[in-house]
């Protein structure tokens, strides 16, 4: 009898002891508030309050970490993706209780921060896009990731196949794309092609609207998009495999539709070494888009992305080698020329980008650290044109001028940032250097040799926490640039907590966009064109002002309603555009001429309640443009946008459902319009409104396998009309391609158990 009772008692003691005795006596344990289960693999930082000792690492599968070599009391910070961050002082080994958080809030952000910060604490208004939503939507490229953001407009260009984005009415030349804080070089035309950036296995995307020019320099006038890659872990091997099959409208087959396969693999070696390899292959079959013949509206293309990280990360420091590799081949078939032996001028565009990077950080003490990165990018875009004889099959290279072209860009960057907080939390500051050189040739850049530029800057920011409610940050950047007079850039951010639930933020920043090598050294002279670059171009400048409120309401059983209201104003001058050369009016060149202003607001609500996560928002952007003396928008023209998203997890069969919807209102545009005689004119018109909707269902099988089925572009948008305002003698504007029509996708994602 006794033996029977003894077993459960002994067993219970054993369990208890695991929590209370072995766990607590020489370490710290974190458990979940609701289900009392250990919070495994949470990120933890321990600092001795009365010493220099520090430990950063991860809780093990029991939620435990050893503190046997440390002296209490300890400052403890625990961060885990599903839980609210824990920050506090612990005077002896203890069990810490972590609250489950709702997915939408309490993300940790890094862009523009001194160190990873919970979103709520950030002085700068950062928005995040989480990978789970991207996975569920079947989003694989950066352009798809951003399409639902309010006041963001995608700008697809059929001529090059590139996709740009405009933010708050400022175009894609003024948006800076970063990979883990390092800018990407190599533009197609004047902006980075977002469809070339793969985000399948991304950790998170962070967006800051408004210039972060103090930290990031040129091109960040409209904002910064920071792609945070999957953090590599020092542990047993982990992997993710991602297969995406998608139709393009109703086209799907071996040579049609979208076929994407990706794999990510990583592991730790020894205590401090780690490696991670990611590889994705994507094939896009092209989209006919109503174009007759062999030519297509969007050409087929094939992309390969690779990312390798090898690093050494003991306590207090890290050094990592990183390689990003991108290869894209666009196959552009042309319609034939001639009646008897038709010749088609087919083209291929081969783009390659290699980014070699060495980065790291060093904690000099508990209050000082240095982050640094050195990066070398080699980018090339080769255009090849063939005279494809459709009768004989021969394809010689075309020898006319401009038929074959290679554009090369090489860019080198070094950033070093020293961060210190001498008065813990009250005063901290950063000093940084940002050294950039870039050289380019080909692609209609003057001369057979390289043209180059250099941008060498130093910046400093200071953050003051004047009280528990009030903090502010000031920044200043000074640059020396080889081609133009660089501006001194100030910025100021203020955050005031009106109540524990209500934050007010105000920001002012000056931004600029440096003239590109193409704008400086363009060269296009033939019998009808005399267009040259302008070496005395000055940068475009902007003032940006925004302010807003963020309110977080918790009610009921862990329900959270978050409201974000933000107003913005951008004032740009010196915009670079085409104009007459001041010294020779027969030559057309780039000049600093335009004035462009935007203002508007956005209101975003997110609600987590029971099994639902709901988001909704409305945004309005007003545009004011003094294009030239003959074409002016003398008043602001407003465009509204509405978006909503719903995620529903019923809790059985591992199912969840998501819906995304966005309404984009009219956008004013300059259009080329033709009358009956074929005469052309540039007039003010507008792009019609349209709606976009994605719907998907996700099923999680056990923990390894996720299957997602979805419909994209449920409203079947293909082209959007551009109309001329006010009618007049000219006919309608034409069509602007937005999408491929309703498409379907299937996505299969395998993850190892320890992948998070």
């Amino acid at each position: 009898m006794r033996s029977v009772l003894a077993c459960p008692i002994f067993f219970g003691l054993f369990i208890f002891s695991n929590y209370c005795i072995s766990g607590v006596s020489d370490g710290i344990v974190a458990i979940d508030q609701e289900n009392r289960k250990p919070v495994a693999y949470a990120s933890v930082l321990l600092k001795e309050i009365n010493g220099k000792g520090e430990l950063s690492g991860f809780l093990d599968q029991n939620g435990w970490i050893s503190t046997e070599n440390m002296k209490y009391p300890l400052q403890v910070k625990i961060i885990h993706v599903n839980h609210l961050a824990f920050s506090g002082t612990v005077s002896s080994p203890d069990t810490l209780i972590l609250d489950l958080k709702n997915e939408i809030l309490e993300e940790v952000v890094v862009t523009g921060q001194y160190e990873p910060e919970p979103l709520r604490n950030s002085l700068i208004r950062v928005q995040t896009i989480e990978p789970r939503g991207l996975e569920n939507r079947g989003a694989a490229t950066l352009s798809q990731a951003l399409q639902y953001q309010l006041n963001y407009t995608l700008e697809p260009d059929p001529a090059t196949g590139a996709v740009g984005i405009s933010i708050q009415g400022l175009d894609s030349r003024q948006v800076k794309i970063l990979l883990d804080g390092v800018p990407i070089s190599g533009r197609t035309g004047n902006s980075i092609d977002l469809s070339q950036i793969n985000i399948s296995a991304v950790e998170r995307i962070e967006v800051v609207e408004g210039p972060l020019a103090v930290q990031y320099g040129t091109d960040a006038m409209a904002g910064v998009i920071n792609i945070i890659s999957k953090t590599s872990q020092k542990k047993k091997p982990y992997a993710r495999v991602d297969i995406l099959e998608e139709s393009v409208g109703s086209d799907y087959g071996a040579e049609e539709g979208i076929h994407q396969q990706g794999v990510l693999f990583g592991m730790g070696v020894g205590k401090d070494f780690y490696g991670q390899l990611e590889f994705t292959h994507r094939f896009f079959g092209g989209y006919q888009g109503g174009i007759e013949g062999r030519a297509k509206l969007f050409d087929p293309k094939e992309n390969i992305y690779g990312n390798l990280k090898l690093g050494f990360r003991p306590k207090r420091m890290k050094i990592e080698y990183r390689l990003d590799f991108f290869d894209e081949l666009i196959d552009s078939k042309a319609n034939p020329s001639g009646l008897i032996e038709p010749i088609a001028l087919d083209e291929q565009y081969h783009t390659r980008r290699f980014i070699n990077q060495l980065n790291g950080y060093n904690s000099l003490s508990n209050t000082q650290k240095i982050d640094w990165v050195a990066s070398y990018t080699v980018y090339s875009r080769i255009k090849t044109q063939y005279a494809h004889n459709l009768a004989t099959g021969e394809k010689p290279l075309v020898e006319s001028e401009g038929a074959q072209d290679t554009a090369d860009i090489q860019a080198f960057l070094f950033r070093g940032i020293y961060t210190t907080n001498p008065m813990e939390g009250k005063l901290s500051f950063q000093l940084g250097v940002d050294l950039n050189t870039e050289k380019a040739r080909g692609g209609r850049i003057e001369g057979a040799d390289w043209q180059s530029l250099g941008d060498y800057a130093g910046f400093g920011t200071m953050q003051i926490k004047a009280s528990s409610r009030f903090s502010m940050r000031f920044g200043l950047r000074y640059s020396y640039h080889t081609n133009y007079n660089a501006p001194l850039l100030p910025s100021a951010h203020v955050k005031y907590a009106l109540s524990p639930k209500l934050d007010f933020r105000l920001s002012y920043a000056r931004g600029f966009r440096a003239p590109t090598l193409k704008e400086l050294y363009f060269d296009f002279f033939d019998s009808n064109h005399s267009i040259s670059g302008n070496e005395s171009l000055q940068p475009e400048y902007s003032h940006h002002l925004d302010f807003g409120f963020n309110h977080r309401l918790e009610f009921g059983k862990g329900y959270i309603l978050n409201s974000d209201l933000n107003f913005f104003y951008n004032d740009q001058n010196n915009q670079i555009t085409f104009g007459q050369d001041a010294l020779d009016p027969t030559i057309t060149t780039y000049i600093n001429a335009d004035i462009y202003r935007t203002l508007g607001f956005s209101l975003r609500e997110s609600l987590g309640i029971n099994k639902f996560e709901i988001g909704a928002g409305i945004g309005v952007t007003g545009r004011y443009n003094e294009f030239s003396d003959s074409l002016k928008l003398d008043q602001y023209l407003f465009s509204p946008e509405i978006n909503t998203s719903v995620a529903y997890t019923p809790g059985f069969w591992g199912l969840s459902f998501s819906l995304f919807y966005k309404y984009t209102g009219k956008v004013p545009q300059y259009l080329i319009s033709e009358d009956d005689n074929g005469n052309q004119d540039v007039v003010l018109g507008e792009r019609d409104p349209f709606q976009w909707m994605d719907l998907s269902v996700t099923k999680n099988f056990k923990k390894y396998l996720t299957l997602i089925l979805g419909v994209k572009n449920l409203t079947n948008v293909t082209n959007v009309n551009q109309t001329i305002s006010g009618g007049g003698t000219h006919g309608g504007g034409g069509q602007y391609p937005i999408g491929y029509g309703r498409s379907f996708f299937v996505r299969l994602v395998f993850k190892t158990q320890n992948f998070n």
Binding site: P396, P585, S630
Partner: protein, 363 residues
């Protein structure tokens, strides 16, 4: 006896006819039958299109000359009109002076920023300029209508003829050919051309007679009178470059066109035939016969064909530099031969522009 006479008469008759058959081929009027048709590749010269090519369908000959061979053409017909060389984008600006030696550099002040294709194009990107609407008067009207030339009719009264500043345009390598000043007067049934460099105080003079065999007498500032067009009766159409007018922002402005086709001023007319099924253009062309000609409207306008025979690729996906497959043409030459002709290529088989080809057939 009967039997002997008959064969002799027969022999006599035969020998007479036999003699008359031979006699027809010797001396007297001989008309070579018109060429029946075929493919013709015009030697325009590739990418830069350096040549004008004058084609005579009935003899299947083409004559290629460099575009910069001439500057001015003096009309041989009744009127006294002078044309400038459209194919090198020449421009002529009329001054209010009628004494050529008193014209100097001061009279061209500001013209450097106006009197050229580059200046006109450049002006589109700056603030609106008042002179842009006048630019169409500095070139010959693209139709080569002699009432609409850049240089006014040469008047009887010498003092009614003004001095013109000439921008000689660009040569085949797109280099500027320089500037001159001219003044033209009548001399009996011919012309007196007074010319010189802008700063000259002593002009040169050349008397030019009208030659009825040719449409124009052509003149080059360095080489004097030169051969350009074949005799008026000996060519039908030509490939050339041309200074056209295009409407931009409400004004007609000069714009340079390549791959342009003109027809002979005199005696040639042409009509357009629309194609019903663009996938069967060559078949419809082959089936088109002389009977269908009666329904057509013929025009003798010099630039009736112009650029309407081809399209040029734009950045819009699907657009292509090619011959148009929705039309072909019927041409009636000065000997009343009627040909159907269709443009079959614009590019060489190496994909280079400036290698046009036509297929033509005698109806």
């Amino acid at each position: 006896m009967k039997t002997l006479v008959f064969p002799n008469i027969l022999l006599m008759v035969c020998s007479l006819t036999f003699v008359s058959c031979i006699g027809d081929d010797e001396g007297g009027f001989q008309t070579v039958p018109a060429f029946k048709g075929g493919l013709l590749d015009a030697n325009v010269g590739g990418e830069k299109q350096p040549n004008q090519v004058y084609i005579d369908l009935s003899t299947n000959t083409s004559t290629a000359i460099l575009r910069s061979t001439w500057d001015l053409g003096f009309y041989s017909g009744q009127e006294f009109r002078v044309i400038i060389n459209s194919s090198v984008a020449m421009m002529a600006y009329r001054l209010d002076k009628n004494e050529i030696d008193k014209v100097g550099h001061a009279d061209t002040l500001g013209l450097g920023d106006q009197l050229s294709l580059e200046a006109v194009f450049g002006a589109l990107f700056g603030p609106p300029v008042p002179w842009l609407s006048e630019a169409s008067t500095w070139i010959d009207n693209p139709s080569r209508d002699l009432d609409l030339t850049a240089i006014d009719e040469v008047m009887e009264q010498d003092s009614d003829n003004m001095v013109y500043i000439i921008n000689r345009g660009n040569d085949e390598e797109n280099n500027s050919r320089g500037w001159k000043k001219i003044q033209i007067k009548r001399n009996g049934n011919g012309y007196d051309l007074l010319y010189g460099d802008i700063g000259d105080t002593q002009h040169s003079t050349l008397t030019i007679q009208k030659d009825p065999d040719y449409n124009f007498s052509f003149f080059h500032f360095s080489n004097g009178l030169v051969d350009v067009e074949p005799k008026a009766a000996e060519w039908d159409l030509a490939f050339t470059t041309w200074t056209e007018l295009t409407e931009l922002n409400g004004d007609d402005i000069p714009y340079f066109f390549k791959d342009y086709v003109i027809i002979n001023q005199k005696g040639v007319s042409v009509a357009k035939v629309p194609v019903n099924d663009e996938t069967k253009t060559l078949e419809e062309f082959n089936e088109f016969s002389g009977e269908d000609v009666a329904d057509l409207n013929f025009s003798d306008s010099v630039n009736f064909i112009g650029d309407s025979w081809r399209t040029i690729a734009t950045p819009t996906p699907g657009s292509v530099t090619s011959v148009r497959n929705d039309r072909f043409f019927v041409l009636r030459d000065s000997q009343n031969n009627t040909y159907k002709l269709i443009f079959t290529a614009m590019l060489s088989d190496q994909g280079e522009r400036g290698f046009p080809q036509i297929l033509f057939d005698l109806l």
